[in-house]
């Protein structure tokens, strides 16, 4: 018994924290590698639908985003609750479908790409599942007119049981 008493006799021993910075740095590097910078603040609520046939978007530099959804609370105070379109980080406040705005947006984004990749631009459509197709069709028509033909319907991966699939 005296063996145990000896140790606890002198009060609490300080924990050695000299390796704490190493641990935290390791965490830091993990997050730096595994995540990407948040580029835009999404001002519309988007809950993308689920699908089974989704693929990863390969080259982030070729991708531009089009969001369609109902505005979030602090934006709704200014623009109302009707569905809005957001192009990358710019909110389109026009009531009608602004063909020119979308066309300008496509041209502007295309200009940023190197010459060889200009026709490989991908439009990622992040659209809320509750939105009606009218608005989506209008945007698609505008994209056709702007000759930006590769689109990606953003969707979450859905896992189905094998029995239901076949």
């Amino acid at each position: 018994m005296s063996k145990f008493r000896k140790k606890s006799g002198k009060g609490l021993q300080a924990i050695n924290t000299s390796s704490l910075p190493d641990i935290v740095f390791m965490l830091l590097f993990f997050f730096m590698v595994a995540t990407t910078m948040r580029e835009t603040e999404v001002q519309v609520k988007v809950k993308v639908p689920e699908a089974t046939e989704v693929k990863k978007l390969e080259k982030k530099s070729l991708v531009s985003y089009i969001y369609i959804g109902r505005p979030v609370a602090h934006v709704a105070r200014m623009y109302g609750t009707e569905p809005l379109i957001q192009l990358n980080d710019k909110l389109v406040s026009d009531e009608n479908i602004p063909y020119e705005t979308i066309q300008d947006f496509v041209l502007f984004e295309r200009e940023k790409l190197p010459e060889a990749d200009k026709n490989k631009m991908v439009m990622s459509m992040r659209i809320d599942e509750e939105i009606s197709m009218g608005k989506v069709d209008d945007v698609k028509q505008a994209l056709r007119r702007a000759k930006s033909l590769i689109i990606n319907y953003s969707a979450r991966k859905e896992y189905r049981e094998q029995g239901r699939q076949r």
Binding site: L28, M37, V54, K55, V122, I131, D138, R164
Partner: protein
């Protein structure tokens, strides 16, 4: 005068690292973008006149989504989950039925010696469907439902491609490495056999106005 360098106090190193860590946690996102990639049809030339394209009726499967999100396939109201099998049947026409698409004799070149099921020159000879799926939706259709239907159609074609790839090359279609020229040629070949023939008509209102 031997001067020793004073030891640097490392006690605050952890605090600095924590600060950086929290900064990265807040400013970055982890989500990977996933989705279904599709190609829009190019805009028609304004000078080009509308020509009535004569398409054999049996080669077209009309998939209609109306304003109440009801699905109609080739004249029958159908559940979404049955659409995939229907599409596969449409694209393969296994019984050679008269009301399903014409199967055309086609030759597709694969890399020689890539499969034991192909002749030594790598030429695949078989029948390729001339079928086209025409997807139509109303302006009031919800987007979620529309994408589910798109998903089933893409799933059907992917299944056909995958089955073919497994049978001939003992590999999943998705596992083909496009950086490898031989596997890329295989992929191009399979795409010729099972085309993603899904056409979307110009938007219009189906069944009354909204």
């Amino acid at each position: 005068m031997a001067r020793t360098t004073p030891e640097v106090n490392g006690g605050s190193l952890a605090d600095i690292a924590f600060l950086l860590l929290i900064f990265f946690l807040v400013t970055t996102t982890m989500d990977i973008d996933t989705g279904i990639t599709r190609l829009l049809p190019p805009e028609p030339d304004p000078e080009q006149e509308d020509v009535e394209v004569k398409v054999n009726k049996r080669n077209v499967l009309v998939v209609l989504l109306n304003r109440s999100d009801l699905l109609m396939v080739g004249g029958d109201v159908m559940d979404r989950l049955a659409l995939k099998d229907r599409t596969i049947e449409f694209f393969t026409n296994p019984q050679g039925r008269e009301d399903l698409p014409v199967m055309e004799d086609t030759e597709v070149q694969f890399p020689p010696g890539s499969s034991s099921l192909l002749p030594p020159d790598g030429m695949w000879r078989g029948k390729v469907s001339k079928g086209v799926i025409s997807l139509q939706n109303d302006r009031s259709t919800t987007y979620g439902k529309y994408l589910q239907v798109q998903n089933e159609l893409v799933a059907a074609v992917n299944t056909l491609r995958n089955d073919f790839c497994n049978l001939y090359f003992d590999k999943d279609y998705d596992d083909l490495n496009t950086a490898n020229p031989i596997e890329e040629e295989i992929q191009v070949g399979i795409r010729k056999i099972y085309k993603m023939n899904i056409s979307e008509t110009d938007p219009k209102n189906i069944g009354g106005r909204n």
